[in-house]
């Protein structure tokens, strides 16, 4: 591992007066797995774009590939030099087959006019064989799992003769098993001399796989370390520049009158025999792997789907929700797992998104929206939750992940809910923003709101919840008391249920 594949020297990037990257020096060896970690907005994506050639660095930067200095580096040069990026959205064609997704680009790049289906399949098969995987060649990519789609994207990169593969948050929506499979593919590629830059928020994965880790903060590389010298705590410290510690949240909850009670709730092929009680002022953690039925359960509690059998009691009264309007009317709020799709209207302003759930309270005598009330409500929430926005008129899609999540939260808190279901509230947001969200959640329960916190991040549930329920294959299989459970204990339990 002596020879560097790519070297960046004095790379800076300014956008209209804002420094995105400040004199970055970076080096990745051939056959190395190099993780890049940093908070949102730290400059990671700018750095990736420069390496991929889609954004030019400021003058004075030096980019060397395999010892050669390159000038006027464009996307097409990067591709010719064997640099491939797998973006978070994977950039695949859902309507084409696995084989075509892998190999079509090869024909396009070669300037062929005709397609040779036999050859196309062979190219795809060879690519899969190189990393020892098998996928059905004729399946449509839109119909296979996200994890398999990821593998298709990797195979496509292989076909293009990849020497440096950049993966942006590849594990964000994979189950643990799938993550392990992906990591083993990455190790396999490393053994073939391919370099990998791995961008991730999941620090335990970073430490599990990386040879070296570069930490980036405020546009500067804070340092590059062999992963053996790091642990999660140290890494967090390096990323944020602050000493952030997970302080467990201890609260005594009055367990007299449950606000929500669920008896033997079942829904065919989704979940079965779910029973629990939720008390006012309590945070109930539910953890389980992706696909354990936790989101399906949440959707039934919120009235989006109806259970086949069993009973839901709200404040002691049996209830049947015909739709989520009923649930909202009772005082149940739900912040969905995929905030981009379900939680926000991305191209609408921050203000409109916050106000949308409470429009009924904002009307004047004529039944029209009262502008002043609207403005006051919006400003109150922006302040309360410290949402960083240039203006409440900015579209939500321009905000960072952490701030988007705050907008979703404020939207629901504005309805004065009695029960708030948070499904993966900190997915894809960085450590500091995570802490801020946890702080908001803790303040909410102090006001007597009951919260169901669904998350697959074990430290998150253990440090915030009063009780933790484990869901597996649609059933609740265990309950843990965070005050006497260590993260390792729970992790071990999770790894061994099958």
């Amino acid at each position: 591992m002596a020879e560097p594949f790519l070297t960046l020297k004095n790379v800076s990037k300014h956008y209209a007066g804002v420094t995105a990257l400040d004199n970055v020096n970076f080096e990745i060896f051939k056959g190395e797995i190099h993780c890049l970690v940093g908070e949102n907005g730290s400059g990671k994506s700018t750095m990736i774009k420069i390496i991929a050639g889609t954004v030019p660095p400021d003058p004075g930067a030096i980019i060397q590939i395999e010892g050669q200095t390159v000038h006027g580096f464009h996307a097409i040069d990067a591709i010719h030099r064997g640099i491939q990026v797998i973006y978070q959205d994977l950039s695949l064609f859902p309507n084409l087959t696995v084989a075509e997704n892998i190999a079509l680009g090869q024909f396009v790049a070669a300037g062929s006019k005709m397609i040779n289906w036999k050859e196309l399949r062979q190219i795809a098969e060879r690519a899969m064989a190189r990393i020892n995987i098998r996928l059905p060649l004729d399946a449509l990519v839109g119909e296979i799992s996200i994890a398999d789609q990821q593998l298709v994207a990797i195979c496509r990169a292989l076909v293009h003769g990849v020497k440096l593969l950049i993966m942006d948050e590849p594990t964000a929506s994979l189950t643990r098993k799938e993550v392990n499979a992906l990591l083993s593919v990455a190790l396999d590629m490393r053994s073939k001399g391919i370099s990998i830059i791995f961008v991730s928020h999941k620090l335990n994965e970073v430490l599990q796989i990386a040879d070296r880790v570069s930490v980036i903060r405020d546009g500067k590389i804070v340092g590059t370390y062999p992963s053996t010298e790091l642990n999660t705590e140290k890494l967090t410290h390096l990323m944020t520049g602050k000493k952030l510690e997970y302080k467990p949240f201890v609260r005594i909850v009055n367990q007299e009158k449950p606000v929500l009670e669920v008896h033997q709730l079942s829904k065919r092929s989704q979940y079965r025999d779910i029973s629990f009680k939720l008390y006012p002022g309590e945070i109930l953690g539910i953890t389980g792997l992706l696909g354990s039925g936790r989101t399906e359960l949440a959707l039934s509690l919120f009235g989006v789907t109806s259970p086949d059998s069993g009973e839901i009691l709200f404040e002691g009264q049996p209830v049947k929700f015909r739709s989520n309007r009923d649930a909202m009317g009772m005082g149940i709020g739900y912040v969905p797992e995929d905030r981009l799709v379900q939680g926000l209207i991305m191209n609408q302003s921050v203000g409109k998104n916050i106000a949308i759930t409470t429009l009924d309270n904002l009307v004047n005598h004529f039944g029209l929206i009262d502008r002043n009330k609207l403005r006051n409500t919006i400003h109150r929430w922006v302040e309360n939750l410290a949402i960083k926005v240039p203006s409440v008129e900015s579209p939500v899609q321009t905000l960072s992940g952490g701030n988007q999540q705050r907008v979703v939260l404020s939207k629901w808190i504005a309805t004065n809910p009695k029960v708030l279901i948070l499904d993966g509230p900190t997915i894809g947001i960085d450590v500091a923003a995570k802490f801020a969200i946890h702080e908001i959640i803790r303040n909410l329960v102090k006001q007597g709101i009951a919260i169901i916190l669904i998350s697959d991040e074990i430290p998150e549930v253990l440090n915030n919840a009063n009780r933790v329920l484990v869901m597996h294959k649609g059933r609740l299989v265990a309950e843990f008391d965070p005050s006497n459970t260590s993260p390792d204990e729970l992790q071990n339990f999770m790894d061994t249920i099958e």
Binding site: L92, F93, N95, L96, V108, S269, G291, S292
Partner: protein, 335 residues
């Protein structure tokens, strides 16, 4: 076997077969070669339009202006036929109409690509412009009285048979032109890089851009193919009715788009096949013909077409939803 039922085309084919059986039971005249050959001749117009529409829909766009394009190409060749009919031949006529269609299609593509205006808006606008200009220049005048060779060509059969009454009938050369257009389209979509790229672009435009596809070239290709097919179709129309009227085609564009959608193409792009498109056109043709043969008042035709479209598209959407729901968390025990 299971795979067959995952194709939209299978269901349209079943519909075509069932409908044919029902119509034949009511009126056995339906299932005669004479009737079928007649249908294939008169629906060559819609069928040729449909080939172009399929390209546009797969690419993720839509074109409303093709009937206006066909009106211009048809009128132009009609004027040429009247002015210099004896110096021309059928190949030249098709070529001229096709090339004018390509040029007008390229204008559509350029506007859509360079100004990033949604294709539906662009082509509604250009439809009005194309059609408007022609109406002004032609003053709405009908053209007829084409040279003898032009009307003779329309009657050529690939082979001719005689019915029991002694009247000859046959498989028209016009139908063959439609079939050739479909064959060409099928080949391009299936076996050329540009064809597969059209699918890719319709599936995910952003990915296509990142993967280095030439999006401008693809836009030009797709909309000029539509224009070309519109040009060919306009000559077919002139051959069929031996008259060119400025207002004969505009207004029929939605019927054609409906036929293609019926055949499995999606308005959101990325899907559709030539075989499906043929079935979609066939279904519309058989429905119209069948209602006549069963003596159903022709006013009902539109109602049935509408219902068929709703049923077909509804059914395929429902199937897709069933598929996406198949995420099973608990494997149900066998009891």
């Amino acid at each position: 076997m299971k795979k067959i039922f995952s194709y939209h085309e299978t269901y349209v084919l079943i519909a075509v077969v069932i409908l044919s059986i029902v119509i034949t039971l009511v009126n056995p005249d339906f299932l005669t070669l004479e009737n079928l050959f007649g249908l294939l001749r008169s629906y060559a117009l819609m069928g040729t339009f449909a080939v172009g529409v399929l390209f546009v829909l797969i690419s993720g766009g839509i074109d409303i202006s093709f009937t206006a394009i066909a009106t211009i190409t048809g009128y132009t060749v009609a004027v040429l036929l009247l002015k210099a009919g004896d110096k021309l031949n059928i190949v030249l006529i098709f070529l001229i109409a096709g090339l004018i269609g390509v040029a007008l299609g390229m204008i559509n593509a350029a506007i859509i690509y360079f100004f990033r205006i949604p294709s539906i808006i662009t082509t509604i606008a250009t439809m009005n412009i194309y059609y408007g200009i022609l109406t002004v220049l032609s003053q709405g005048k009908w053209l007829y009285g084409f040279p003898q060779w032009f009307s003779d060509f329309a009657e050529i059969n690939v082979f001719t048979l005689t019915n029991r009454g002694g009247t000859p009938y046959g498989f028209s050369l016009i139908t063959l032109i439609w079939f050739a257009a479909m064959l060409l389209g099928w080949f391009i979509l299936r076996y050329t890089i540009i064809g597969r790229s059209v699918y890719a672009m319709g599936g995910n435009m952003a990915s296509a851009h990142r993967a280095g596809f030439n999006l401008m070239g693809l836009h030009l290709f797709v909309y000029s193919s539509m224009g070309f097919m519109a040009g060919i179709a306009s000559v077919i129309q002139a051959l069929l009715v031996q008259t060119v009227a400025p207002n004969a085609l505009v207004g029929k564009e939605l019927d054609v788009i409906a036929a293609v959608v019926l055949g499995g193409a999606s308005l959101s792009g990325g899907t559709g096949s030539m075989f499906g498109t043929f079935l979609g056109v066939s279904l519309i043709a058989i429905l119209g013909n069948g209602l006549t043969l069963m003596h159903v008042p022709s006013f009902w035709y539109k109602v049935f077409i509408g219902l068929t479209i709703l049923l077909s598209v509804g059914a395929s959407t429902y199937r897709r939803r069933l598929f996406s729901r198949q995420r099973v968390i608990i494997e149900e025990e066998v009891r």
